[in-house]
């Protein structure tokens, strides 16, 4: 025991353990990926689940619990479904950078394959909303812009603003801007209701209507600036700011100039 304790306190113990850990992770990953490539779909799925579990244990379990059962600071993930994981991790919201009021969108930490593994693992714990397939997301074909706009103004604009630019909620929470969000992620947000957002089930807003909303958001995103500089599309606040700075500034400048010339 004495010898072991001495070894444990050895100067090289830390680095050696680190190298060992990295080696293990690398090998596991290597094995997992290798297994992934050449097996049947059931085995494939269980391997993906295992890969996801490993990723989960390393990256998520400290807050969400070893078995995704949740903890004091994070909710249980049993039954949230693959769509939820795909949205939260795919948009970079999870893992959180800090324990602030709300997870923000940021460059994702995991690549698409890892996100898929995590989502498959969480989905394997209990049934929940699935990630929508490519085919079901053909909003260009199946959506209507005008209907989408109407639905958006009825269901979404109260938090996300009339032009999907985002808005403030209570206590520092906010509805983020929807500009530049993947159609898949918009769809997943509607069916899972991340953070302060309510769930819009298929009974409230049908899948076709969801596609219409996405189509309208995409059309708002690519809409040209019809009346000149858009001023953030947040309404009269920026207009007031401009008139009190540039507008009156120019006019007072001219007035000073006019009064000066007469001297």
């Amino acid at each position: 025991m004495k010898r072991l304790s001495r070894l444990r306190r050895h100067r090289a113990a830390g680095p050696i353990l680190l190298i060992f850990a990295l080696f293990t992770i690398g090998t596991t990953f290597q094995v997992a990926s290798a297994v992934n490539n050449d097996t049947t779909s059931v085995a494939d799925r269980s391997a993906t689940i295992e890969e996801g579990r490993q990723l989960f244990l390393k990256g998520c379990s400290s807050c969400h619990g070893i078995n995704a059962e949740g903890g004091e600071i994070a909710p249980s993930l049993i039954g949230v479904g693959a769509a939820s994981v795909d949205f939260q991790v795919g948009t970079g919201r999870m893992p959180m950078a800090d324990m602030s009021t709300q997870a923000m969108r940021k460059p994702p930490v995991y690549n698409a394959e890892q996100v898929n593994a995590l989502a498959t693992y969480v989905a394997s714990l209990a049934p929940g909303p699935q990630v929508p397939s490519e085919e079901s997301l053909n909003y260009e074909r199946d959506g209507s812009v005008a209907d989408g706009g109407e639905l958006f103004r009825t269901n979404c604009a109260m938090c996300h603003n009339f032009a999907a630019q985002g808005g403030a909620l209570t206590q520092g929470k906010y509805a983020p801007t929807l500009m530049g969000v993947e159609p898949k992620h918009i769809y997943e947000a509607m069916i899972t209701g991340p953070q302060s957002m309510p769930v819009f089930s298929d009974k409230t807003i049908t899948p076709e209507e969801k596609l219409s909303i996405i189509k309208w958001i995409k059309s708002a995103e690519s809409e040209p600036q019809l009346g000149g500089a858009a001023l953030g599309r947040v309404g009269p606040v920026t207009e007031g700011l401009l008139v009190w700075t540039l507008g009156i500034g120019l006019l007072v400048g001219v007035a000073v100039w006019l009064a000066m010339k007469a001297r």
């Binding site: 812009v145 005008a146 604009a157 109260m158 009339f162 009346g227 500089a229 007031g240 009190w244």
Partner: protein
């Protein structure tokens, strides 16, 4: 006499024979106006008003003020096939199909914002220089009337297109009307011709917006300018300027050229804004339906401070005899603005009561020489700015990563605490500036040049200021505080004792000043050096 002069003379004679204009023109074209950039601020309002009349007339050619339901079949695809009011559809038509329509709409709206900014900065200039004093009290009241009507007129214009944002504004206006105790719901019913939103409101406010209020504006602006003409313009103090003269340039040709040129510049700036910056993009807001609302719904800036007051109001309600009195709307939406506008309109009389000064004033005050007035103005301004900031609390919160609750509590406390602080700081600043003026007159300008005297002493050379500058810094009068008697000759308290005591106290506070430099003091100091 050349041929050209002869023809001009004949034309002029022809007109004069029929109108008798020559005598009147001769007198008035030589009228003198004093020169200062801040005297042009009121002109910004006049010119924006003309721009508003012209661009507004253009818009009426196509605007259909009706809440009749139509199906949109115009060129803007994202709204194609939606049901909307004719008012909204015709505004879309003006924006997308009428040639130059969007530009005109944007010019009209920017001109409205500039009009209101112009009124406020003009008001601030008049206030802080004391230009409202006798004999100009009526003109001040007319100005306050124009400000108030401007807010109403702007709000009605913002409400006309019947888009999601303006409909939300009308909804809030309806709520404020309903907050009136007892009669509120009846008045709202009369105004809307039934339940909200109804079909009557937009046609009604259209008539008020394009006919009634512009007519009242025109009348008030005319009286406002006629009074300036009759009473003559105030001027800043300076050598040769007295209460009995006006030093400046004649209307013809100098002011004709300046004012005419300034009109085109104001039009140019407005058109520039209309061309490069989007304003009120109603096609993005969508048609109004009572079931919809957008995050960050705001009024235009001149209503923003009222919205801010409503937003910061705590939820106070009284239930009595089957009635609800919504103090949370009533106080910030009606009572506070009522007190503020009444106080603003009556300010000239309040000040003259406080100082006991009933004389005419044509020379302006430098703001520092009226510390109490300047500090009061800073106080009112601080109150309004805090309220205005809270009007945009959601946009500010998301932009600067604050919480909307922090904004609200900042405003709730700030609106009470910051104005008195602004008063104290401004009054101190004014008195310090007076002290600096006094030093400047007595000791001259610091040149920054150090000289070593033969005995080793270092002194900084001070350069005496010009006689013109010295006059400017010493010509103002410092009013002595009132000393109204509290006791009569026999030492018995007079019936008006309390009233007089209050007036004396206010007057003492108003008259606080650093004694200005006198000629004797200056001579004495010169003798020492």
């Amino acid at each position: 006499m050349t041929a050209r002069e002869r023809i001009a003379g004949n034309v002029a004679g022809y007109v004069d024979d029929r109108t008798g204009a020559a005598k009147w023109m001769k007198k008035n074209l030589t009228k003198v106006f004093p020169d200062h950039w801040s005297f042009l601020l009121g002109e910004i309002c006049l010119y924006s008003f003309i721009i508003l009349l012209l661009s507004g007339t253009f818009l009426t050619f196509w605007f259909d003020p009706s809440q009749r339901e139509v199906v949109y079949d115009g060129g803007y695809q994202p709204l194609s096939g939606l049901k909307m009011s004719a008012a909204y559809a015709s505004t879309l038509h003006i924006s997308f199909e009428v040639r130059g329509g969007l530009l005109m709409r944007q010019i009209h709206h920017w001109a409205a914002l500039i009009f209101m900014v112009g009124i406020v900065v003009h008001l601030l200039r008049v206030y802080f220089t004391g230009a409202f004093r006798k004999p100009r009290e009526f003109n001040w009241i007319i100005g306050v009337g124009l400000l108030t009507l401007g807010i109403v007129e702007g709000f009605l214009g913002y409400s006309l297109p019947d888009d999601l944002l303006s409909g939300t504004g009308i909804r809030i206006a309806e709520a404020i009307i309903q907050a009136l105790p007892l009669v509120g719901s009846y008045i709202a019913f009369f105004a809307f011709g039934g339940a909200f939103p109804g079909e009557a409101f937009i046609p009604r406010i259209y008539t008020v917006h394009v006919l009634l209020l512009p007519g009242i504006f025109l009348a008030l602006i005319t009286v406002h300018l006629m009074l300036v003409w009759y009473q003559k313009h105030t001027q800043f103090p300076g050598p040769g300027r007295t209460e009995k003269n006006v030093v400046g340039y004649p209307l013809m040709p100098v002011y004709m050229a300046k004012a005419g040129g300034f009109f085109f510049i104001v039009f140019g700036v407005t058109a520039f804004l209309g061309a490069v910056a989007s304003i009120n993009p109603i096609w993005l807001y969508g048609p109004y339906t009572p079931g919809q609302i957008s995050a960050g719904s705001q009024p235009d800036w001149y209503m923003g401070w009222l919205d801010g007051l409503v937003r910061m109001s705590p939820p106070l309600e009284t239930h009595a005899f089957g009635h609800t009195i919504s103090w949370n709307i009533l106080i910030p939406g009606l009572i506070l603005p009522g007190i503020m506008f009444t106080g603003l309109a009556l300010y000239p009389f309040i000040e003259s009561w406080a100082t006991g000064d009933k004389r005419e004033h044509h020379l302006l005050d430098r703001p520092r020489n009226a510390p109490n007035r300047t500090a009061l103005g800073a106080m009112a301004l601080t109150f309004t700015i805090v309220a205005l900031l809270n009007g945009g609390n959601d946009i500010i919160a998301t932009t600067f990563h604050l919480t909307i609750n922090q904004m609200m509590w900042f405003s709730r406390i700030g609106v009470l605490v910051l104005p008195p602080i602004a008063f104290i700081i401004t009054k101190r600043l004014c008195l310090s500036l007076q002290r600096a003026d006094r030093d400047l007159v007595l000791h001259g300008r610091e040149t920054g040049r150090l000289v070593r005297m033969p005995n080793g002493e270092f002194v900084e050379v001070h350069e005496p200021i010009s006689a013109e500058k010295a006059w400017l810094l010493t010509s103002h009068e410092q009013i002595a505080p009132l000393e109204l008697p509290e006791h009569d000759a026999a030492g018995v308290r007079r019936p008006a004792a309390i009233k007089n005591k209050i007036r004396n106290r206010i007057s003492r506070a108003t008259a606080v000043a650093v004694p200005k430099a006198t000629e004797t003091e200056r001579r004495e100091l010169e003798g020492h050096h």
